[in-house]
């Protein structure tokens, strides 16, 4: 048992490596296995796919349903459903959100600025730190690494009040860059962990060869190592962007000027009726706008996300 446990790949495994424990599917081509066995495998596969579609529907249908609802006019959304009006669809909610007095375009842009800045900063700082922790030995490096991971053990929710006062003092309240710096800090444990592992996985010969050729520390990073650790950089940036885009409590605390609100905070204001009566049609359309970038970014880059999970990034 013990040998099995220690042999379990924790960091080396990639998303596609390794087979499922006992879910061996003979595959559609059962080959010489005979018609009966092939038929059974096909039945199994059909059952699996039907089951998969039903289970997936539980998780996806609500999101699709809300997208459909967001295309109904406000009067349909906030009144008892009637068969006559239910299928009448319009982009009115979206038009109202992207122009006029309920404009949230500004807030979408704010969220994008903070999200992209957080992703870039997290990627840059994590890459440098991962390079330092992974390939350089220096006194106290273990202690410093522990210090960075310690941020993982401090829930940001618990330092919010003192941080509010500190950021006020540093003129970082109502400041998109300040918010991005805050988000970056709490994404560093994941990012630095992933990047240190990426650098540790670079074959030693490559690092040594660069040294022998006389490449400087920065040149080694930029021209030799960068392509090798790029997947790690993508992982760190992806986690940071998704965190920033969906974060609510910090943005709610540190942004008091409504032209600087991020999208979730603007929607929360709309929900509590700060802009007048609550408009549930707009709220739904706003929530759908908030979910689209997450889905697009995740679907496009999910192998990097899974890579982070497999390498144990969340373990801190």
């Amino acid at each position: 048992m013990a040998s099995v446990r220690s042999g379990r790949p924790q960091s080396g495994a990639t998303a596609t490596v390794g087979h499922a424990g006992n879910g061996q599917a003979p595959g559609p081509r059962a080959g010489r296995a005979g018609r009966r066995a092939g038929g059974r495998a096909r039945d199994g596969l059909t059952l699996f796919i039907v089951g998969g579609i039903l289970i997936s529907a539980v998780f996806v249908l609500p999101l699709l349903w809300e997208t459909f609802r967001s295309l109904q006019p406000e009067s349909t959304v906030s009144n008892p459903p009637s068969a006559a009006s239910f299928g009448h669809l319009t982009f009115a909610n979206y038009r109202a959100l992207l122009s006029g007095q309920d404009d949230i375009l500004r807030n979408v842009v704010n969220s994008l600025i903070v999200g992209v800045l957080t992703a870039l900063l997290t990627a840059a700082v994590s890459t440098l730190a991962g390079y330092g922790f992974g390939l350089f030995r220096f006194r106290g490096s273990g202690l410093v690494f522990g210090l960075v991971l310690l941020a993982f053990m401090i829930p940001f929710q618990a330092v919010l009040t003192p941080l509010f006062l500190e950021m006020h003092f540093l003129h970082l309240l109502n400041n998109l860059v300040g918010l991005a710096l805050f988000y970056t800090t709490f994404n560093l444990p994941v990012g630095v962990y992933v990047m240190r592992n990426s650098f540790l996985q670079v074959p030693r010969e490559i690092v040594d060869a660069a040294r022998v050729d006389g490449a400087s520390v920065s040149r080694t990073l930029m021209s030799v190592l960068r392509p090798l650790v790029l997947p790690g950089i993508a992982t760190a940036a992806l986690y940071a962007f998704l965190f920033s885009w969906t974060e609510f409590l910090g943005a709610l605390s540190f942004m008091t000027n409504d032209s600087l609100f991020t999208l979730p905070v603007a929607l929360s204001n709309a929900e509590t009726g700060t802009y007048g009566a609550v408009n549930y049609g707009l709220l739904l359309a706003g929530a759908v706008i908030a979910m689209i970038p997450c889905i697009v970014v995740y679907v496009a880059l999910q192998r990097f996300y899974v890579r982070g999970l497999v390498s144990g990034a969340l373990k801190g």
């Binding site: 996806v60 959304v77 730190a129 030995r137 960075v148 310690l150 941080l163 929360s268 497999v310």
Partner: protein, 317 residues
């Protein structure tokens, strides 16, 4: 040059002590390494220091004062902490958060585990199913809470429309202003939202288990269930611990869904701990008291995380 450098870097980033076997005078290359290492890690250290460690210490300091949001303050010793014992709103928020955590943890784990078993094979379609099941987590609880607000409205929301057709509730049920109903709705929302993460974490762990163990178990005539119980569960302890800790800590720090869906109401009956801190700091502007609450929160979460580390450490040995 290369020959003298190589031994000094025998273990890049290796465990502390690996290089101390050779008590040799530090070469120029070693010093260059040390300087570069410090410089490269400095930005990360600076950020963690400024935005995490300093506020933590500052928070402890503030918790010993009667700090208002604006104006002068003075030291009050531990009175913020002793006051917490009699602070019924805070105590209620702790009890409510514990209750909420207790309700959602097991369903998230059981549903997540079942989903992981379902998607762990490399059959056709599994990648797509994984992606779809994981979407609610990726979209984030904030957007979904706004959707829930709309759909939990009496008479117009989809929840009542469906449930009243099933004769489970009347179509005028006001979910968000009733403690029990609101808690039920939020728990269902969160289980739906979070089981995808547990699925992904457990699936990653399951895929790390070598297939040949299952093959030899099958040769020995083990059933699916006994293989699951005797092989998967013990070998998955790390992943199980990790997913449970993430889910428990996440539930304990819940804020978004309660702030958005019930605003803590009716009264303060659905106020979570983090929400209670938020209200104390920004609505009541009692920063000293809010900081004392935060320190309690750090200690509780730190204990949970410490137990995690302890558990994981023991498991890797």
């Amino acid at each position: 040059m290369a020959a003298t450098e190589a031994p000094g870097r025998a273990a890049p980033g290796g465990r502390a002590g690996a290089g101390r076997l050779r008590p040799r005078r530090r070469s120029a290359a070693d010093r260059r390494d040390a300087r570069a290492g410090l410089a490269l890690t400095a930005p990360a250290v600076l950020l963690v220091g400024v935005f995490a460690l300093f506020p933590l210490g500052f928070g402890v300091y503030i918790s010993l004062t009667n700090w208002p949001l604006v104006g002068a303050y003075h030291f009050v010793g531990l009175s913020n902490y002793t006051g917490l014992i009699h602070n019924s709103v805070f105590l209620q928020s702790i009890l409510f958060t514990l209750k909420y955590t207790a309700i959602v943890t097991i369903p998230i784990f059981v549903v997540g585990y079942a989903l992981a078993v379902f998607v762990r094979s490399n059959r056709r379609g599994t990648t797509l199913f994984r992606t779809l099941i994981f979407l609610p987590y990726i979209v984030g609880l904030v957007a979904e809470s706004f959707m829930a607000v709309v759909e939990l409205q009496p008479s117009s929301g989809t929840a009542n429309f469906v449930l009243s057709r099933l004769h489970l509730v009347t179509d005028t049920t006001a979910w968000t202003v009733h403690t029990g109903l609101a808690t039920t709705a939020i728990c269902i929302l969160v289980i739906w939202f979070a089981s995808g993460l547990t699925m992904m974490l457990l699936m990653a762990g399951m895929q790390g288990i070598p297939t040949d163990i299952y093959e030899s178990a099958r040769v020995d005539g083990a059933s699916w269930w006994s293989a699951e119980r005797r092989i998967t569960l013990p070998l998955l302890r790390r992943s199980i611990a990790l997913s449970l800790i993430i889910s428990v800590v996440g539930s304990f720090l819940a804020f978004n869904q309660f702030f958005i869906i019930t605003d803590g109401g009716p009264g303060t009956s659905t106020e979570s701990v983090v929400m209670s801190i938020f209200q104390t700091a920004f609505a009541d502007t009692d920063v000293g008291l809010a900081s004392a609450m935060s320190v309690v929160l750090v200690i509780v979460v730190g204990l949970i995380t410490f137990i995690q580390f302890h558990y994981l450490q023991r498991d890797t040995d």
